[in-house]
Subunit: 250 residues, 2 copies
Amino acid sequence: MARIKLLLRYDGGRYHGWQVQPNGITVQSTLQDAIERITGVRSGVTGCSRTDAGVHAEMFCCAFDTDSPLRGEKLATALNAVLPRDIAVYDACEVSDTFHPRYDARGKRYCYRIWNGRQRHPFWEGRALHINRPLDEQRLNGAANAFCGTHDFAAFCAAGSDVADTVRTVTEAAVTRDGDLITFTVAADGFLYNMVRIMTGTLLDIAFGRLPETAIDEALQTGDRAAAGATAPATGLYLQTVWYEREVTA
Amino acid sequence: MARIKLLLRYDGGRYHGWQVQPNGITVQSTLQDAIERITGVRSGVTGCSRTDAGVHAEMFCCAFDTDSPLRGEKLATALNAVLPRDIAVYDACEVSDTFHPRYDARGKRYCYRIWNGRQRHPFWEGRALHINRPLDEQRLNGAANAFCGTHDFAAFCAAGSDVADTVRTVTEAAVTRDGDLITFTVAADGFLYNMVRIMTGTLLDIAFGRLPETAIDEALQTGDRAAAGATAPATGLYLQTVWYEREVTA
């Protein structure tokens, strides 16, 4: 029995998120189906994150145990032949049998994409939030800077989450523009439930004057969810990278 | 009655090309339906090009005559509200009533996108050709240089085309790489039927040794379709820009 680490990309538009649900297809159940077809055995797959319905991944790390001799490119190619077109494995390697994609993760980077053209864009349909009122990315970038550092992000966590420790360290928070496409990039040692979507919604509420410029500082200090902004839709959110402290290859 | 010029973007994946067909939906018929819903009158729309089934457009110019008073952003917004998600108008303005999107075009630029990663990429599904054997973009770029200049492109025209004059002037032909994404960009004063797809197929046949390095020069000199390469699939092809000699705004 060996543990295999998979790196995936997926368009989350059709899925009810990563994790297996009683109703609706998920990325995890779809991947488990594919592994069963290739190896002949049903294996549980552990993911690095529980992405929400509609969230995309440019790099998603997960792992499963198998007796199959398939490795590397042969395994990736075999899985991609049976996976649907909106999910693909781009790396598959054997790792230590103690490797855990979620517990061993040392940090993640997400980005949130906004199509800021006057009219909607067919190529960004389902892959970026369309906002047609002009956004000032320099002002957004200045506001996003307040997220950097070690803070209690309780105000940026969906109500009902049962996480005890809501302190996280944000190492990067920046807003950039490329033509009419605006990207909010944020990296941290960990993220609370809906954290990036609430951060994005807060930046947009500040941009449109629905919240004061000082809202982020106030929300960080008070921990009050009501001091932060709305939860931005899942459609613009991408998990970009997950990183690990040590080399995990077996 | 006024003539309106529309600039569109579309993902051509679901369409049987631009032009109205007896069987299958086309971009032209879909747009005419949308205009009829907004203006109450069925209008014929003239396009700048007859793109094939599956070909995409980042800028497609077309025109129609109408008595509707809607102009500019109001017209674009109204049309986008009734058009399907894979087609969007991003500009609508009144032009001279002699303007013709195809006859007045002075040049076009296309690009052909190739996803050259080892495994397929979910975000490029239907929007780039996947080739998993490594391609040398510098060698492709060197070969593409042979297309530049004024030549008889008869060998790069689909059989059965009835165009009399097959001489065209290519002003740009370059292959670039951005990570695993390779882009062949080609601009000319005009294009023959399937010209960019045959150019792309010829470059790939040279890259994989199925045609000699001299194939492009030979095909240009002989005008023999058999001397050129295969027709690459429509999926990677984008009409990027159409340009006009004079300011056509009324």
